[in-house]
């Protein structure tokens, strides 16, 4: 009780003035169309602690770096939010490019763990004090930091698209014909590619051994290291889990990712703004429309446009249908992970199919929808589709969700396999920056649609689904709850769908995006999906960063798993619901 009363009272309504609180360490970011504060890196931890404890920004949403090559500066950008809702706070810290070192914020926000490793791997910013600063997305032995602006990939052509004509004088040439070792692949002088043998995973195993905990002190046993994946039937793709086992019990676990890494962000920075839209489809390839949504919001903030009424409704309808299709699929595959032989999965896929039919009719594609545009959407609903959605959300889907609930929720084996397994407490969930169903199943009623409403979500009546045990079972239940809430939103949206135009202004291939920065975030099916976009007025974004929920939700994975059995690793992973396209980017 004493400990609880010792926590200072946080006045959530108090105006933030960080610069006044730390006059010599913090200045307001005054660059045009930029917001937030710039913190002196020597006092970063102190300021971050104050932001968390005094101002109440307890949730670190996103950490990323930006390479300002012309200024010779690297900047690390932090987006923090309050779990009680409301807009967020941005603070940044700068470091010289040649020797980029920043103190790690893992002691303050444990959720920075994987994100700082990513920034180290891709931008070469060293985070001093990080407990486990290893590569995360690139492979061992990769030379260079690919997201730095002076790094050029193999077959590099030009800085930004659209590229020049590849048919000069009617003569076709392919960039691949160029010798890749000519001048655009960088490797150390004494490096001979033919003789290269990849390093083993010594660093990974060291880190795994260091984090072993929960061993029985009285039993003399050997710890067995098992690599689940990257080729494994239940990792939902090429994901690898290095586990240390004592018998069947897990004593340490490290997720290893990056097998599907394609440097989405670098590609995004070469693309024009609009060309990125179809690329976002490929992040979480099961819910492309939500991905579109976040990116469109971020760029619209920069452009300062808002879509017309009908387009807003169409966006919400599509995003909520995506959520249902994602959750129903997640539940199906989750049951598969528990060992149910495909039966629930196939029944779930049947319903998902009906939703995909609607996507196909409207957007032209079942999964890679590419539907959103800045200030609108590409196509209106074809004839008859509105009625189809109406029938689906009023009759068929509510019934089918109830059916799933009826057959699965009280199954004896499902309950005994999941209840009390993989617990993440509310405090841990916030600290590890868990998002979406994982966060809400731990008893934190935080849903961006309510906490920081975007688009027209403030008009609809729905409840934020929340469960309180934080175990695998609750992470399953919350998806059922969320489908019901999504159906409520859909029922209202399809009823009120107004007539009118679907695109603000006229559709354009090349949009003009004024210089500035913007962070657009949506409540995706898997959690908070954020896009941090910086424009410098050119046709291509200067920085394009994706805050991927599948990726960041894995930060707490080890905590959930340690102490449980091997079989639970799979069940817990299924309950987090990751998609590797988004995890690895």
């Amino acid at each position: 009780m004493d400990e609880q009363t010792a926590v200072p009272f946080i006045d959530v309504t108090r105006e933030v003035d960080l610069a006044a609180r730390f006059p010599e360490a913090v200045i307001v970011d005054v660059r045009k169309e930029y917001e937030g504060y710039i913190v002196n890196r020597d006092r970063l931890i102190e300021v971050a602690t104050a932001i968390r404890d005094e101002l109440g920004y307890d949730y670190l949403s996103s950490v990323t770096g930006v390479d300002y090559l012309p200024d010779g500066v690297m900047e690390v950008v932090y987006h923090v939010y309050k779990m009680t809702g409301g807009p967020g706070l941005v603070f940044k810290t700068q470091t010289p490019r040649d020797e980029a070192v920043v103190p790690s914020l893992v002691p303050v926000y444990p959720g920075a763990d994987l994100q700082e490793r990513e920034a180290w791997d891709l931008l070469g910013i060293r985070f001093e004090g990080h407990p486990d600063l290893r590569r995360i997305l690139m492979w061992e032995g990769f030379a260079g930091y690919p997201l730095r602006k002076d790094w050029q990939e193999a077959y590099f052509e030009e800085e930004g698209k659209p590229f020049k004509n590849r048919w000069p004088d009617g003569q076709v040439y392919r960039i691949e014909d160029k010798n890749p070792y000519e001048n655009n692949v960088q490797y150390p002088a004494d490096f001979i590619p033919e003789e290269y043998e990849p390093e083993n995973d010594a660093l990974l195993y060291d880190s795994l051994k260091r984090s072993i905990r929960g061993r029985d002190p009285e039993l003399e046993t050997d710890v067995v290291m098992v690599n689940m994946g990257p080729q494994h039937p239940s990792t939902h793709g090429v994901f690898r889990i290095a586990v240390a086992l004592e018998g069947e019990k897990i004593v340490a676990l490290k997720p290893v990712m990056g097998y599907l890494h394609r440097n989405h962000e670098k590609i995004g920075e070469r693309n024009t703004f609009l060309q990125n839209m179809p690329y976002t489809d490929r992040l979480d390839y099961l819910s492309s429309l939500s991905n579109n949504f976040g990116y469109a919001l971020a760029v619209e903030k920069l452009m300062n446009v808002r879509p017309p009424e009908r387009a807003e409704y169409l966006r919400v309808i599509m995003a909520e249908l995506t959520r249902i299709s994602n959750h129903i699929f997640a539940i199906g595959t989750f049951l598969n992970d528990l060992g149910a032989y495909f039966t629930p999965a196939l029944y779930a896929i049947k319903e998902r199919e009906l939703i995909l039919d609607i996507f196909e009719a409207t957007t032209g594609s079942r999964m890679m929808c590419n539907y959103f545009r800045f200030g609108g959407v590409t196509r209106d609903l074809p004839e008859g589709i509105a009625e189809k959605i109406h029938r689906l959300v009023y009759d068929r889907l509510p019934q089918k969700v109830d059916e799933l609930d009826l057959y699965l929720t009280n199954n004896e084996i499902v309950r005994s396999r999941t209840e009390g397994v993989g617990v993440l407490t509310a405090e841990q969930a916030i600290a590890y920056s868990a998002a979406g169903p994982v966060l809400r199943a731990s008893g934190v009623p935080y849903d961006i649609r309510r906490a920081d409403p975007y688009s027209i979500y403030d008009r609809f009546e729905f409840d934020v689904a929340v469960r309180y045990h934080g175990d695998t079972y609750d992470r399953y239940l919350i998806r059922i709850d969320e489908m019901r809430q999504s159906l409520r939103i859909l029922q209202q949206a399809i009823k009120d769908l107004p007539e009118g135009s679907i695109q603000e202004g006229k559709p354009q291939y090349q949009v003009r995006v004024p210089a500035g920065e913007a962070y657009g975030r949506v409540e995706g099916p898997k959690g908070e999906l954020g896009y941090y976009v910086i424009s410098n007025g050119k046709p291509n974004p200067w920085r394009y960063h994706v805050r991927a929920p599948s990726f960041i939700n894995l930060t707490g994975y080890e905590t959930m798993c340690v102490g449980n059995k091997v079989a639970d690793v799979v069940a817990i992973l299924g309950s987090i619901d990751i998609v590797l396209g988004e995890t690895d980017r």
Partner: protein, 338 residues
């Protein structure tokens, strides 16, 4: 010895093996077809009419597969392991009584040794051997998943064999014999033992599912955790041998269940009048039991290893013991035993 008896044995053995092989092939087909229907899809329907040639296609495919033996594997044991698992599954069927007819002036028993006076002990002894094959396969593959699968499987078999053995005791007590033929006879005089021994029947069914590594107790080969468990390194025909064992054991366990608890080859009125129907009656009972096994697989998720152990030792074993005590008590009260 009598030459006629030899010929009879050889013919019966060949028939039995052929029946088992065909049974294995078409059990895979049946399982795939039923699972498909449970799951809203069609199942195999390309090879032959309604996919009836699918098992042949699978077999031909497996024969032509490359036989990979891992470099670090213990070769001899690696090759031997599938054989050790498959033989016991086949020889169990020898003691199943199938009824008899009068032909050529002598009584021809359809089974090989249905009248063996220690039939139940024989079954217990032989089923336990096949676990060696699984453990050795897991160990010799030099693969951690395989090893985990092998270890799981040995622990599981030991735990469930106890309950299984005790479930055998009930029918044996009621028939006052260890011979399967006597047990079937005893049932033909009263009613099926499934009615008189409900607890024993349920314990037997559950323990049998665990014994043959079928869902929801398919721990040793849990796909989601251990990729394929003990046979992860096997390919081609060696892999097929493991599959053969699994499906043969499904058949065998169903046959034993039918014999011990569902009256075996006997069906009231039917087989009394036409004794040659015996094998067909047994066949029908086995098909129904197999359907149940497949149904369970399509329906239930897998239990966890520790839960499986807890179920085996804390629920199944006491229930089986209780069943033996109750049976003995009731028989004593009724004066059936001294």
């Amino acid at each position: 010895m009598d030459l006629g008896l030899w010929i009879e044995w050889i013919v019966k053995a060949i028939i039995l093996i052929v029946v088992l092989l065909i049974g294995f092939m078409y059990l895979t087909y049946m399982e795939r077809k039923f699972l498909a229907r449970f799951q809203n899809r069609y199942g195999p329907n390309r090879a032959g009419p309604v996919g009836l040639l699918q098992p042949m296609a699978d077999g031909i495919k497996l024969i032509f597969k490359e036989e990979v033996i891992p470099k670090q594997a213990d070769k001899l044991i690696f090759i031997l392991a599938p054989v050790i698992t498959v033989i016991p599954a086949w020889v169990i069927l020898a003691v199943i009584p199938l009824g008899s007819i009068q032909l050529f002036g002598r009584t021809i028993d359809f089974s090989l040794a249905g009248d063996l006076n220690v039939g139940i002990l024989y079954i217990m002894a032989v089923t336990s051997i096949s676990v060696y094959g699984i453990v050795l396969a897991g160990w010799s593959s030099n693969n951690k998943y395989a090893l985990l699968g092998g270890i799981r499987s040995s622990a599981q078999m030991i735990s469930y064999e106890l309950a299984l053995g005790l479930a055998f005791v009930g029918p044996a007590m009621m028939a006052s014999s260890l011979s399967l033929a006597r047990i079937v006879e005893a049932q033909s005089k009263t009613v099926w033992f499934a009615v008189l021994q409900p607890i024993g029947f349920v314990v037997f069914l559950v323990a049998a599912l665990a014994e043959i590594n079928r869902s929801p107790f398919d721990m040793p080969e849990a796909e989601q955790e251990l990729t394929a468990g003990y046979h992860v390194e096997y390919s081609g025909m060696k892999f097929a041998m493991f599959m053969l064992t699994e499906y043969t054991k499904m058949i065998v366990v169903s046959v034993i269940a039918a014999t011990l608890f569902l009256g075996g080859y006997h069906f009231p009125f039917l087989t009394d009048r036409w004794p040659w129907l015996g094998p067909l009656v047994l066949f029908a009972k086995v098909i129904i039991l197999l359907f149940g096994i497949i149904w369970v697989r399509a329906t239930l998720p897998r239990v966890r290893y520790d839960q499986l152990m807890a179920l085996g030792w804390k629920v199944m074993l006491p229930a089986a013991l209780l069943n033996v005590f109750i049976t003995a008590g009731v028989m004593y009260v009724l004066g059936m035993i001294a």
